[in-house]
Amino acid sequence: MRGSWLSRLNPLNSLFGRIFLWFWLTTVIMLVTTIWISRQMTDQIRYEPARKFQQERLQQSADKLQRLAGRRRHDSAQLDELLRRVGMREHLGLMLLSPVDGKALLSFPGSDRLDLAPFWALQDQQAVFSIDGPVWQFTGPRALILEDKRYLLFVGRFKPPGPFLFARQQPWLMGLVILLTSAGLCALLAWSLLRPIGNLREATRAMARGDLQARAVKVASRQDEVGQLGREFNHMAEQLQRLVDSQKRILADISHELRSPLARLQVAIGIAQQEGNEDSVHLLRIEQEAGRIDRMLEDVLTLARLDSGQQHLHWEIQSLEALLGQLCDDIRFEARAYGKELTVQYPGEIKVRVDIRLFLSALENVLRNALKYARARIGLTITASGNGLAIRILDDGPGVADDQLSRLFDPFYRVSSARNRETGGTGLGLAIAAGAIASQGGTIVASNRAEGGLCVAIHLASVQWDAD
């Protein structure tokens, strides 16, 4: 239990840990920086008991001064010179305050930069302090007798201009830096949290579109909670695919198995007709219905194969007009028998690279559907679009209710009013067309025409073939 609890805090393996530690760390860093910056930015002078090295430094400087000053007599100008020399040698700033006459000797230029009041304030102190100003740090006081005069020695240096010097001068710039840095860090956190979710969403969308093979691969390899979710998703997808596949397989298997008895039935009908019942209306009817079952089985099997993605594509290159000539002749012939008319528009001489059977079967199924519902006219319009083909099949029939348009390509889906045998084929024609177009990487969409009737638009990308 303890181990698992701790592992939840591991930011590599757990989202909980990452969010928790991130916020915790951010809060701590913010507090610390705020305190530090505010200390850096104040002009207040702080007194602290001097540390050991500071005291030693003070002592050394005092000893040196005393030793050098003790060799001969100095007047006050010479004392000033001596102070400067020692300061140079020690790389330190030395300051002598004389409480008797209130004068100050400095080893460095810039007495104007330095307000001496904080030092005077210490003149009666016995202890040694570290005095921190905004740009300097001094240690003192140390009482000294030079030339019979009592002095207070302070030793220190000017600090290099710190990073927060500019901040004091331009607070808005500091604000900008803080804003940008924190924004960057937070964006990093948000991005690291959301990136796997985006990946998961893509997989979910693909699945909703009907791609049952969609898996969240990248997410599932993660160790954290999103990774777990990804693996759960993949598991679910797997189960779903298996379920759908088995459903489809059952349909295909049944159709497969039905072929043998149907073959026998059809031969038996032939024998019965041969035995002198040639003209029996009932036998003719049985034959007709057997043929219908036959076509249905073929359609179910075709669809099952298209769906399973096991369709072998046989790419062939042919002139579009030659390719469609026979089909258009057939449809035109049938249309005439019903008193309807087919008009065809080609984009001129074009060679296409398609799987001829699939391409023709898609067009035939859509054309037959149009033929069924058209009142008088069916149109087939093909235009070149870029390197692809845009094919539109139009009829002047009743059209389809808008909410049913997208379901038009579902197997066995029939617009409710048309659920009779007069108009209906097997109910698989458009589903096969959609499958055939999809397996060639194209799209198929149905819409209602403004002037009435249905328009099925097929788009096949990059099928045009340049003869050269």
């Binding site: 072929r259 026998r264 039935l265 089985l297 075709t302 194969r305 001829i356």
Partner: protein, 231 residues
């Protein structure tokens, strides 16, 4: 008309019995085999068959295997009974040298029409008006003996391929439409999906090219074929 002798290779014994009942009154003599090897033995065993009805889906040795082995030695016309709903079968069957195919289950009338068409193809040719030998470049065709040769080397053509070559040679230099070929050779109207003619032409081309790799049969805009002289 002499009684035609058919060999049926199909593992469905009930269907075979029904087919026997159906076809024998029409004047065919039907021999049956229920496995690939048994059918192959019969087909290559010296007995003459006018046509073999070969089911694709046989246990163990399938129909394609049988056809492939058969074609090494025999040019007996073969009608493949392919699985309905599998387009690939049809193309493969024709590629391997079947004369025609019929998706199973089939309408019995359709079956007897196909059988009749293939048998007529085989016997009509010698009896046709064009009995004389045809010769174009080094390509010779003799309808009387059903033999064709290139540069003196005999071509192993199936009946369908021979009939096709005959038709193309008789119309040398002229476009023969696919529609015409289908009606004359296969005995049926060409449908949009029917690739039989293309497959037979491609087999014929391959066999010609094996002897002399030059283009003799030209494709014209997908609508038909033309036999041309070698340049």
């Amino acid at each position: 008309m002499a009684q035609k002798s058919l060999l049926l290779i199909d593992d469905d014994t009930e269907l075979s019995a029904l087919l026997k009942n159906y076809l024998e009154p029409q004047g065919y003599r039907l021999t049956m085999a229920h496995t690939g090897p048994a059918g192959l033995d019969l087909a290559t065993g010296g007995q003459h068959f006018d046509l073999i009805l070969l089911d694709v889906m046989l246990p163990e040795t399938d129909g394609f295997e049988v056809l492939k082995t058969l074609r090494r030695t025999h040019l007996t016309p073969v009608l493949m009974l392919t699985a309905r709903g599998d387009d690939f079968d049809r193309i493969l069957g024709l590629e391997l040298g079947a004369d025609d195919y019929l998706p199973k289950p089939f309408n019995s009338r359709e079956l007897s029409a196909r059988i009749k068409a293939i048998c007529r193809r085989m016997e009509l040719l010698p009896a046709s008006s064009q009995q004389q030998c045809l010769a174009i470049d080094e390509l010779l065709l003799d309808p009387a003996t059903q033999k064709a040769s290139v540069q003196g080397r005999e071509l192993a053509l199936t009946g369908t391929e021979f009939a096709m070559l005959h038709l193309l040679m008789a119309n040398q230099g002229k476009l023969v439409s696919k529609q015409h070929l289908s009606e004359k050779i296969m005995g049926r109207r060409l449908s949009a999906f029917d690739r039989s003619i293309d497959m037979h032409v491609s087999n014929l081309r391959r066999k010609l090219a094996d002897v002399q790799p030059k283009e003799r049969i030209r494709t014209l805009r997908g609508s038909g074929y033309m036999l041309v002289e070698i340049r």
